[in-house]
Amino acid sequence: MTLLNQKHTTIEAAIATIPDGASIMVGGFGSPGTPFALLDELLAQGQSHLTLIKNDANEPDIGIGRLIRAGRVDRLITSHIGLNRIAIEEMNQGRLAVEMHPQGLLAEKIRCAGAGHYGFLTDIGLDTEIAEGRREIECDGRTWAIEPAIRADVALVHADLADAYGNLVYRGTAINFNPLMAMAADRVIAQAFRVEAPGYLAPETIHTPCAFVSRVVRVDETTSEQGRRTHVV
């Protein structure tokens, strides 16, 4: 674990701690909450054979889409990749192993790892195709599927605000998977638009306490322009 007063660092130093073959959780639902600057640094540094865990695959030219396109990802654990035709193509060609989960189960599996549990029991998806291969158990006269938790070596998260100890505050719909992933990985690297001195954030406003965060880096607000798209109304 990193000492409190040594967490605030540069993006290069933070990403350099990630080895080839790492499993990496990436925050974000579509663009909001995706740590674009951390992902671009990961692309620049060249780590490969990665396993990524993200709700979606972004789009081909942004975020994890760039890593997939560069052939740096062996495996993707996700819930929906419909906006990334390259990821679909790589999956269909057998170059990218994709493991799909219903979105709420994916979130809960990550939350569960973050809470220090093995897994949870659920009735979601019983009597559907996703039940194939799942272990089931009888409890109190009902059938439940066992859903193991999902952890990772690293989590890359995006916060709106942070302090130098790594306390994090998220904003709007950029919250999504970030606070869950910030608890479920062994090493957590957070990017934030502002990194303030400890004491700046009121204690009750903090979403992720710094105990879970290993490194925090400040990124420019314009980096999120990469995630800007022309949307349907």
Binding site: F29, G30, S31, P32, G33, N55, T78, S79, H80, I81, G82, L83, I88, M100, P102, Q103, G104, L105, A107, E108, I110, R111, D123, I124, G125, D127, T128, E129, I130, D160, R171, G172, T173, A174, I175, N176, F177, N178, P179, L180, S224, E225, G227, R228, R229, H231, V232, V233
Partner: protein, 217 residues
């Protein structure tokens, strides 16, 4: 957007009761947003983590960190909240969302729904559809009555992998509004100018029709 779709959306808006929490699926259902009167007290839930979203004001500058699950930039109305994805799905699994509107590839007379996968052709992942279908009390399907080749989508029995079994309450197409009952699929409304025989011909499912009680839309 076609006039058929506008008619479907106007009809679908009548399914929403003031005070409800409403989820709108990706595609046509998202457009229902614009058919709910702004003064109507409903909170629209989007599974990426917002309760109380509303369309962005015309010409309004988008906040890059505020989207709905379809990826459109949104605003929020008074009483709105934002939260993480685990909490968003807790809200769904605990049935705190009153009604959800979704598209469909196939839906059948038992209320089974298939809307996520066409084996060999289309499998981008299920997203949030499975939990919404299984846990929201009222699921309204909003889809075309037939596919692009003219084949029926309202079937006796779904053939594609199910999103969830026996989950559909009502189906709204450009041709009819149908309710899933214990007795079968009952037609409540039929499109203006459409003959009952033509509706039956376009449908594979058995339809229960009482011509004296039939509404028009």
């Amino acid at each position: 957007m076609s006039s058929d779709q506008e008619r479907m959306l106007a009809r679908a808006a009548r399914e929403v009761v003031p005070g409800q929490i409403v989820n709108l699926g990706i595609g046509l259902p998202t457009r229902l947003f614009h058919y709910l009167p702004p003064e109507m007290e409903v909170l629209v839930h989007s599974e990426n983590g917002v309760l109380g979203c509303q369309p962005l004001a015309n010409g309004g500058e988008p906040d890059l960190e505020m989207i709905d699950s379809g990826g459109a930039y949104i605003g929020t109305r008074p009483g709105a909240s934002v939260f993480d994805s685990a909490l968003s799905f807790a809200m769904i699994r605990r049935s705190r969302v009153d009604v959800t509107f979704m598209g469909a590839f196939e839906v059948d007379q038992q209320g089974n729904l298939a809307n996520w996968k066409i084996p060999g052709k289309f499998s981008p992942g299920i997203g949030g559809a499975m939990e919404l279908a299984q846990k929201v009390d009222t699921l309204v399907v909003l889809c075309s009555h037939n596919d692009k080749q003219g084949n029926p989508k309202i079937l006796r029995q779904c053939r594609l992998p199910l999103t969830a079994p026996r989950c559909v309450s009502r189906i709204i197409t450009e041709k009819a509004v149908m309710e899933v009952t214990d007795a079968g699929l009952e037609v409540i409304d039929i499109a203006e100018g459409l003959e009952v025989a033509a509706l039956r011909a376009a449908t594979e499912a058995e339809l229960i029709i009482d011509e004296h009680r039939l509404g028009r839309f």
